[in-house]
């Protein structure tokens, strides 16, 4: 997949994972990996960017004698997913146009 397209999709995929319930780093990677390739080094800047943008918040919870960082989506994060869904309609039109060009 094109790197630029993937970059845009990854942010929304992480948010969509968190929209299903709060989660932590390793679990997010496992969930998102089912639909799109993501590595540990890729997830960190995404989480940082989303947190800075106010699209998610973090809480630390004790787990197995250590602290685990949980991420929770915010209202702005939900709004970002909704925006993406609107953008997707335009993308679908472009896709159909491109697809039509091959079939004709």
């Amino acid at each position: 997949m094109d790197a630029q397209i993937k970059k845009g999709l990854l942010d929304v995929c992480v948010l969509a994972t968190l929209a299903r319930g709060e989660s932590y780093g390793w679990q997010i990677i496992k969930d998102v990996s089912d639909v799109i390739e993501i590595s540990e080094s890729t997830l960190y800047p995404i989480l940082k960017r989303l947190e800075t943008g106010g699209l998610l918040i973090t809480t630390e919870v004790a787990h197995n004698g250590r602290l685990r960082r949980y991420f929770r989506i915010t209202k702005d994060g939900i709004a970002r997913i909704k925006d993406f869904k609107e953008e997707y309609k335009s993308l679908l039109k472009i896709y159909e146009y491109i697809n039509g060009g091959i079939n004709e």
Partner: protein
């Protein structure tokens, strides 16, 4: 490399405490899931190195751009000098072409002129006089023609060199060959 060494490396190379905590947690979670420390560190170390290399390469690319832009804005003579160089380059290109082709055209004009002169003088002047006039023009045209031939040849090569150097025509040609 074990977990501690890997985390120290991240701290040393990134200086980001949050990133260290992130990797610390990831490693612990993967170890809890039953993976071996060696395998986890191997994968994460590769991923981390790849990301750092990408960052470095982006920084270098941006660095070069900033050096050029910085030089243009900081130095008062850089922009006019660059503009002057550009104009000089275009002027050299145009004058080379104009000079070479005017030599070739002059040679051709000389031949035509000698024929006009020959027709004009025939019947009114002696054959020797006509030959002398026409001959001298033809010899002069010939010399100009030879110089013009080499000049045009040189300029055509120069034009091809310019196209290859600045417009990447050679690259396209190579791609076609592949």
């Amino acid at each position: 490399m074990n977990k501690e060494q890997f985390l120290k490396r991240i701290k040393r190379e990134s200086g980001d405490e949050a990133l260290v905590a992130y990797y610390d947690e990831l490693i612990s979670d993967r170890l809890d899931a039953g993976e071996t420390e060696t395998a986890v560190i191997k994968v994460l170390s590769y991923e981390f190195s790849k990301k750092e290399l990408e960052k470095e390469s982006t920084k270098r690319g941006k660095g070069k751009t900033w050096i050029v832009l910085g030089a243009l804005f900081v130095s008062p003579w850089a922009a006019p000098a660059l503009l002057g160089l550009g104009i000089a380059f275009i002027a050299i290109f145009l004058s080379f072409n104009a000079a070479a082709f005017s030599l070739a055209i002059s040679a051709m004009a000389g031949v035509v002129w000698s024929l006009i002169v020959a027709f004009g003088l025939m019947g009114t002047e002696s054959a020797g006089y006509v030959l002398l006039n026409v001959g001298s023009v033809l010899v002069a045209s010939g010399i100009v023609g030879i110089i013009g031939y080499f000049a045009v040849k040189f300029v055509l090569k120069f034009n091809v060199w310019l196209s290859v150097k600045f417009f990447g025509l050679a690259k396209r040609k190579k791609e076609k060959v592949k």
